[in-house]
């Protein structure tokens, strides 16, 4: 990491930081959405099991 930081010039570092922020924002959002969808899916499966419905 230090070697990478040294290799990058000041301007490059700011550009890298901005793009890392952008990617991090998207990754965090998608991770939260994936967790929510998994929770819904689990709850739906529990509901199906409770009612004895076959899995679609």
């Amino acid at each position: 990491m230090t070697a990478l930081a040294v290799a990058l010039e000041a301007g490059d570092r700011y550009v890298a930081a901005a793009y890392v922020v952008f990617v991090a924002l998207i990754v965090v959002y998608v991770a939260i959405m994936a967790a929510k969808l998994t929770r819904i899916q689990r709850a739906l499966e529990t509901l199906r099991d409770d009612r004895g419905e076959p899995e679609r």
Partner: protein
């Protein structure tokens, strides 16, 4: 929205984003005035444009909700504002990084574009607390729609006022004569704008589908 349609939308968004980033780093020339730091604009400006368009679109959806009484429009407006706020966070952070590299300061209070965007962001930050402070679902949707319309009308007014401001230090990416960028830069910018718009559409469809699934599940529990 069907899963297959979301998947194809996600693939298109990913491909356009990959193309945009490739153009940014391997095709677009380094700006003679600002240097490499100008490359931040290829995500900063599209995110700002898409976020502001999202706020205005949410106002349109809120109008549809009030006119038709269909709760689906309220959910669409809610998801649009939610995603626009997330993009606005990205705009503020990447803008601050650019300002630090270019001006030597993280934030400049006498810069109209920065402060006005912050005001719009803070205004929309009150949308969720306002919404969830109301327990009655019907009234919650109605109040949220009224807020979305008023705040949405404020966005273009705010943009025009900033453009008319005299003390202007914020660089203009798109000028009144159709842009000040050379061809390679403009192509890169437009691809990035398309990529962010597609990304927004994908995440919007995904969140809306999740919300619909959750609502359907709640209805099944109640039945």
């Amino acid at each position: 929205m069907p899963a297959r349609r979301i998947s194809s939308l996600a693939l298109t968004a990913a491909a356009t984003l990959a193309a945009g980033l490739s153009l940014v780093f391997f095709y677009a020339p380094v700006d003679a005035d600002q240097g490499v730091i100008q490359k931040i604009f290829y995500i900063h400006v599209p995110m700002a444009i898409v976020a502001l368009c999202g706020f205005i679109a949410a106002a349109g959806m809120a109008i549809c909700h009030l006119r038709t009484g269909d709760r689906q429009w309220d959910v669409r407006a809610y998801v649009t504002i939610h995603l626009s706020i997330i993009l606005a966070v990205g705009v503020l952070v990447t803008g601050a990084i650019w300002a630090r590299g270019s001006w030597g300061h993280w934030w400049v209070w006498n810069e109209p574009a920065l402060v006005s965007f912050l005001i719009v962001f803070l205004l929309y930050c009150t949308y969720q607390p306002l919404r969830f402070a109301i327990e009655n679902p019907e009234r919650q949707a109605r109040y949220a729609s009224v807020f979305a319309i008023i705040a949405g009308a404020f966005v273009p007014v705010n943009f025009v006022v900033v453009r008319l401001a005299q003390a202007y230090t914020h660089p203009r990416v798109l000028g009144t004569t159709g842009g000040n960028m050379p061809g390679a830069m403009r192509l890169t910018f437009l691809v990035c704008l398309g990529a962010i718009a597609l990304l927004f559409a994908t995440l919007w469809a995904l969140e809306l589908t999740a919300k619909e699934a959750a609502a359907r599940m709640r209805r099944r529990v109640v039945r």
